[in-house]
Each structure stands twice: as C-alpha cells, then as structure tokens.
C-alpha cells in the first residue's frame, strides 16, 4: 500500500491534537503523582507515538523534541532527577513549544528554530542529570545499530519476542594467539545456530575474515540458554570469552516499524474530524428548517380550516407531522455531534491554577470529577475564559486573605441533569469576594446560567447551572397583548387555566390555589410592562407554572401558544442585555420573540413565594 507524503502529513496533523491533549493531561496528573509509574509510562508511550508518526511524516524537529521529552520522563521515572517545580516548568514549556511548532506546521510556516531551541534546552537538562547512564545506553544503542537488519531478520526478532525469548547481543572474544579467528567464528556461529536462533552477526557471515581486525564477533542471538550455558558453548569452540547483554533495538528501526503500523490504523479510524464551522452551518440550516417547518404547520392548519376535503387536509397534516419528526431527529443528531467532554475546560482550569499558584509562590491542588460530562462545544469554548479567570481570581483572593502557605485544595466537578449541566467549584474557607469575581459570575447569567452559592462551616460551593446547549431549546410560547414570549421548558412545571374568580389578593400579592397549596401569581404584562388593549379578561386566565426555589410561581399570560423548539439568537451584550431576557428567537413570520428568564423575572418583581 503506497501512502503518499501529503496524505501522511494530513493524517499526522489531525492526530496530533489528540496526542497533545493526552500529553498535557498526563503531565498534569504526573505532577500531582510523580511516583506513579503508569503515568510516566503513559506519557512516554504517547510521546513515543508522536515521535514515530512525526518522523514518518517527515517532521524531524517535532520527532526529536518528542524524543527528548520522552527521555526527560524516563529520567524522572528512574529517579535520576526529582519532581521539582523547575522540572515541570521545563516540561510544560517544552510542551507549549511542541504545540506551537505543530500549529506552525499546520499553517505551513517554518517552525524549526523554536523546536530546535527547546530541544537543546532539554538536551542540556538531560546531560546534566542523566549523563552517566545515558552513555551506557548509548553504547547499547551503538551495538544495536551495528546490526543491519533486513525485514526478515526483524520478523525473526518479533517471533522470538512472541515466544518470550529475549534476544541477546553476544560479544565473542577470540584469543590473541588464535591464528584462525574466522574459523573459530564459524564454529561459534554453528554452535549458536544449533542451540537457538541466530538472527544476525557482525561482521556478517559472508565477511567473517573481518574478525581478524576486530578480534571479536557480535551475534544477535535468541535461545533458551542461560549465561553460563552460553559461555560453555562458546568456549568449547575455542573462543576466550563472551559477554551477553540484552538486545536494545536500535531506535531507527523501532520508529519505522511502529510508525508503519501506526499509519494503517490511522487511516482506518472510525471517527471523522469535522470543522466546527461545518457543524455550525448544519445547525444553522436545521434552524432555518425548523422555522420553515412551523410555517408549514401553520399553512397546514390554515388549509384544514378552509378546505372541505378531509383527505387532502389530513394528507397535509400527516406530512407536516412526519416533517416535524424528521427535523427533530436531524436537529438532535447534530446537537449530539457538537458535544464534547468538559475535561478540556477542566484542564485549562488546572493549567491556570498551576500558573497562578507559581506566580504567587504557593501550591494549589485541583481535584476534578465528572470530566467526561458532555456539553455543547460552543458552550465549552465560552466557559474556557470565565472559568480560568474565576480560578485565577479565587486563588488570588485566597492568597490575599490567608496566604498560600498551605496547599490550597479546590474541587471542580460537572454533572448532567436533564437538559442542564451543573459546574461545581468548591474551596475551603469563606467565599473570596472581589469585584472581578462578581463580574465573572455575572457573565454566566448572560447564557441562561444560574449561580447558586452554598456556604458551609469552613468551605463554600459555587454551583453554576447552564443549559447543555446554547443553540436550540424547547420552550413554551405564550402571548401577552400583541407580543410573543418564550419560556424555556426546563423551568416550566405545567400550564394552568385558572378561573378569574379563584384569584385572591393576600397582602397585596395575588394568589390562587393549586392542589391544595397556595400559588403566587405574577402577571407577565405587568412585569414586562407590555401594553394591553383589552384590560379586562374573560372568565379564565392562562398561566405557566415555573420552578422557583422551593415554591413554584404561576405566570399569568393572555394565551398559551404551545410547545416549540427554537433556535436561540443571542441578544447584543452591550445593548439590550437585560436580566429578564435570556435571548431571542425568530418566529415563522419573521418577528423576533424574546426568551424570558423566568427566575430573574420573579426575582425582580415583588413576588416571593407566598
């Protein structure tokens, strides 16, 4: 299978994003638990994979830097360097350089210099810390390199490994006075062959007279003999001594092998990378489809009213229904495609925490849970900035108040509840206050977010409720006067028809009874200051019962228009960013309808639970 270089490069670039994320995530974990070998191994494996595919794709700088980072973690694992803050600073810095380098490549720009510089930095570190042992392993490598192995030989090595026989590099020395060294070599080779698998020799069998110069023979051998038996065997043939060491595969060979096998699976992946823009376009189209579908519904109803032909009209309504189902499924599918785990946001928060703590010369630990909770990518992207700012501010405020001498522990978590996701930030002590923190928290309400603060004796909890998606939500449409409003179905408990006569006034507030309990009422036209031409209602009032803390509230409207799924169009933040309104949507007739923030409405009016 011939794979051209461009294709390789494209595949490589697509996969690096995942690899980088994995590296960063593992590094963060490793910093917390430096003695966990599995983490170190995981990092090295990922770095190794990155190195291999970079080399195959022709990006040697990237491969080399990855290699160094792998070595660095090996250094840590073997205890030859300690898990100091400086060490991790260096690692994060190198990872950043790697990331930037890959970005540059993706944009077709030159990247070498930075990557080379980073590689040199690591090289220095490696030298200082691991000099001695590195030389030793270099020697191994050198010997390994001496064997020029063909495909067949490598397969034989693989077979040996599968049979759990570790290949050895056997160094056979010949006596000085041996006049027929090549002859002895031949005998040794024959003996080895009859006692196991001789994969290769240096010099090769066809050039054995070279042993006259070198005075020794290197054999790559795999067999079930132990060191003693091996020595006996070889000395019997007339050699003076032998030295057997495990065969360390030469790096180049490993890379080529591994990256070859890497490329095939990459091309056979079951996932597809798609540009966010493409998904946005699809979603927008679905939105238009939905608007048109409601028009279709409307038309179908108008037809029904006018036509006498029952069959025709039922055909139309039937089709409209099916169209409705299909649109809903399409929309649901696209929404699902946009979901990403919140882990990325958590990683950004951890990074920020580390940075701020270092700046303030303190130590901070962030314990995360629920990282696999999914939410819409747009929402995740939006959350990045305010959440990292929040983390920074919380740490600063904590430092201001109490200093950062002890390790500050913060817990962050995410949980999905129906159509909402709750993000939790927990810290110890009392809630840090600062203007910036208040501003950041206020920003969340723009997106229909709701903040709950829970204080305990010596800790606090910030609960941030957010809709899972910013794009499409189910709502209950209502009419007040000539205006149309939407309530997110999330907060709607039920809808009611109340007899006007059953509304009483208690201490200036209007209430009615619902299943034996008092229900406070809020008149939407009053709280939204909507002009109404017909002040006097009929016998019945329509109301939407919404969740509001412990007791629900009934919002009185003129007419209930039914449930709908709508595309949210955000309102400008600078103009018209009003607390009582979450956003807007465009109706079938082109008009804009506002999405009401029911809770803010209840908050700002004088209605409290009766």
């Amino acid at each position: 299978m011939s794979i051209d270089k461009n294709q390789l490069q494209r595949v490589f670039l697509q996969e690096t994003a995942d690899l980088l994320e994995s590296l960063e995530s593992t590094l963060l974990d490793l910093e917390e638990k430096p003695k966990h070998d599995e983490l170190a191994d995981q990092f090295m494996r990922t770095a190794h994979t990155l190195k291999g595919s970079a080399a195959t794709a022709g990006f040697d700088d990237v491969a080399d830097l990855s290699h160094r980072m792998e070595d660095m973690v090996e250094l840590l694992k073997s205890g030859r360097t300690s898990a100091t803050a400086e060490y991790f600073d260096q690692m994060y810095k190198s990872l950043e350089t790697l990331r930037r380098g890959l970005e540059e490549i993706a944009f077709g720009r030159s990247h070498s210099q930075e990557l080379l510089a980073a590689e040199l930095e690591l090289g220095q570190w490696l030298e200082e810390m691991g000099a001695a042992e590195q030389d030793a392993s270099q020697n191994h490598k050198a010997e390994g390199d001496n064997f020029s192995l063909g495909e067949y030989d490598r397969i034989r090595l693989k077979v040996l490994r599968k049979r759990e026989i570790a290949p050895l590099v056997v160094k056979v020395d010949f006596a000085q006075e041996d006049v027929d060294k090549p002859g002895t070599a031949l005998k040794v080779i024959a003996a080895l062959k009859s006692n196991g698998d001789l994969v290769a020799t240096v010099p090769p069998e066809s050039e054995l007279d070279q042993v006259n110069q070198s005075g020794n023979l290197l054999a790559l051998f795999g067999g079930k003999l132990d060191a003693g038996q091996l020595r006996q065997l070889i000395e019997k043939e007339g050699a003076t001594g032998c030295d057997a060491t495990p065969y360390v595969e030469s790096q180049n060979q490993l890379e080529k092998e591994e990256s070859q096998s890497l490329v095939q699976p990459l091309l056979a992946e079951k996932t597809v990378r798609i540009e966010m823009e493409a998904l946005d376009d699809l979603l927008r189209l679905v939105g238009e489809l939905m608007i048109n579908r409601s028009r279709f519904d409307q038309i179908a109803r108008e037809f029904e009213a006018v036509l006498d032909d029952a069959v025709f009209s039922s055909d139309i309504t039937g089709s409209a229904e099916i169209l409705g189902h299909l649109t809903a499924e399409l929309q649901s599918g696209i929404m699902q495609a946009r979901m990403v785990p919140v882990a990325r946001v958590f990683r950004a928060m951890k990074r920020q925490a580390r940075k701020t703590a270092r700046l303030l010369k303190g130590r901070v630990r962030i314990i995360a849970s629920g990282e696999q909770t999914e939410l819409d990518k747009k929402l995740a992207d939006f959350l990045d900035q305010p959440l990292t700012a929040l983390v920074e501010e919380l740490i600063r405020a904590t430092a201001d108040r109490a200093g950062l001498d002890d390790v500050q522990v913060f817990r962050i978590g995410a949980e999905r509840k129906g159509n909402q996701v709750s993000l939790i930030v927990e810290g110890s002590g009392s809630i840090p206050q600062s203007e910036r923190i208040s501003r950041i928290l206020a920003a969340f309400s723009e997106y229909g977010g709701r903040l709950e603060t829970i204080k305990a004796n010596d800790s606090y909890r910030l609960l941030l409720w957010l809709p899972i998606t910013l794009a499409i939500i189910p709502v209950m449409m209502v009419e007040v006067g000539e205006e149309v409003f939407a309530f997110p179905l999330e907060v709607v408990q039920e809808t009611l028809r109340i007899k006007a006569s059953e509304v009483s006034t208690v201490e200036g507030k209007r209430v009615t009874e619902l299943r034996g309990e008092a229900l406070s009422l809020l008149y939407l036209d009053e709280s939204l200051e909507v002009e109404r031409s017909t002040a006097g209602e009929g016998e019945y009032l329509s109301a939407v019962v919404i969740d509001y803390g412990s007791k629900p509230i009934g919002v009185v409207v003129d007419r209930l228009l039914g449930k709908k799924e709508i595309v949210i169009k955000p309102l400008s933040k600078r103009f018209g960013g009003v607390e009582q309104v979450i956003g807007s949507t465009i109706l079938g007739d082109g008009r804009v309808a506002l999405i009401v923030n029911a809770r803010a409405l209840a908050d700002s009016s004088a209605v409290r639970a009766a």
């Binding site: 205006e483 939204l528 909507v530 309102l571 600078r574 018209g576 465009i586 506002l594």
Partner: protein, 168 residues
C-alpha cells in the same frame, strides 16, 4: 485640461454621505460607514432595556438592537413607524440599527466639508459628533458613531482593564 484634472481630483477627494431626519435635525453619516438602509420592520420591544434601545429586529436572520438617537441624546424621541427607515451600521464589531424618520438621498460633499462642531449643537455635546457640515439650506450633524454607541459598560470596562494592567 488642467481644469479637467483639477475637477477629477476634487471628485476623488469628495465623499458621499447619507442624512436622516429626526425631529427638526438632520444627522449624517459617511456612506462608507453605513451597511444598509431598510424599511422599518416589526420591532420587538425589550422590557427594562435602557430607554434609547427601542427594541430588536430581525435583519437577515440576525437579531440586532434598534437605537433611538434622540433618546440617546435626551433631546426627544424618534417617531418609529412601519414606513420609517432603519440605518444599519457596524460599530465596535457589532451591527446595530439607528431609527430614522426620513432618509435623504445620498449627497456628495467635498472632503473638507466637515468642520469642528461648536460645544453644543442642537443640545448634543460636541464629543459625540464628528463635526458639522453646512450646505445650501441644510445643516448636517455628522455623528461620531463610536462615541454615540459607547455604553457605561464600555467605559467601566476600559477603566477596569487599565487598572488590571497596572496591577499585573
């Protein structure tokens, strides 16, 4: 020949402006700053919004705010009717619509027509204006859109950013 060249040169240095009337005053904008002009569609009121935000409208599938300049300067109230016009402009990366009663034809003006405004023009402080231009029988008030549409928030944000920059 020289005259022709001079005329051609002066044409190049001219610019086009669009003027719109609110009450007794004629406000103007450089045509280059105007995205489009539409007939006033249905405007959805936004309750509890500042009084100079008369509501929002649907512009090609996007929801944009409608700004009443007269209210913004506290010099009256624009009469918004379905037959009126909305002048759509982009300011600070955002698209907004300015409510207008009547919009004039496009006018060509020499480059240097816009003169610095006197301290108070028709009740509007000079820093909201780019300048004024006199024409035969007309007096055009050129708006400084960025300042006109600056909100309290923007000002506090700028101040906060400056403070933060000092602290970090």
């Amino acid at each position: 020949m020289a005259r022709k060249i001079k005329k051609a040169l002066s044409l190049v240095k001219d610019f086009q402006a669009i003027a719109f009337r609110i009450g007794r005053e004629e406000y103007a904008l450089r045509l280059a700053d105007v995205q489009e002009i539409i007939t006033t569609p249905h405007i959805t009121r936004v309750p509890k919004a500042p009084d100079y935000i008369r509501g929002v409208l649907n512009l090609h599938g996007n929801v944009i705010p409608v700004i009443d300049i007269a209210k913004r300067f506290s010099i009256g109230r624009t009469n918004i009717t379905r037959g009126g016009r909305i002048v759509v402009v982009e300011v600070g990366g955002e698209i907004v619509g300015l409510a207008a009663e009547v919009v004039s034809n496009v006018t060509r003006l020499p480059q240097d027509s816009i003169k610095p405004p006197p301290p108070l023009v028709a009740g509007i402080a000079a820093d909201y204006l780019e300048g004024v231009a006199r024409m035969p029988g007309r007096f055009l008030i050129f708006l400084n859109l960025a300042r006109v549409l600056e909100t309290e928030n923007d000002r506090t944000e700028v101040a906060n950013d400056a403070r933060e920059a000092k602290h970090s």
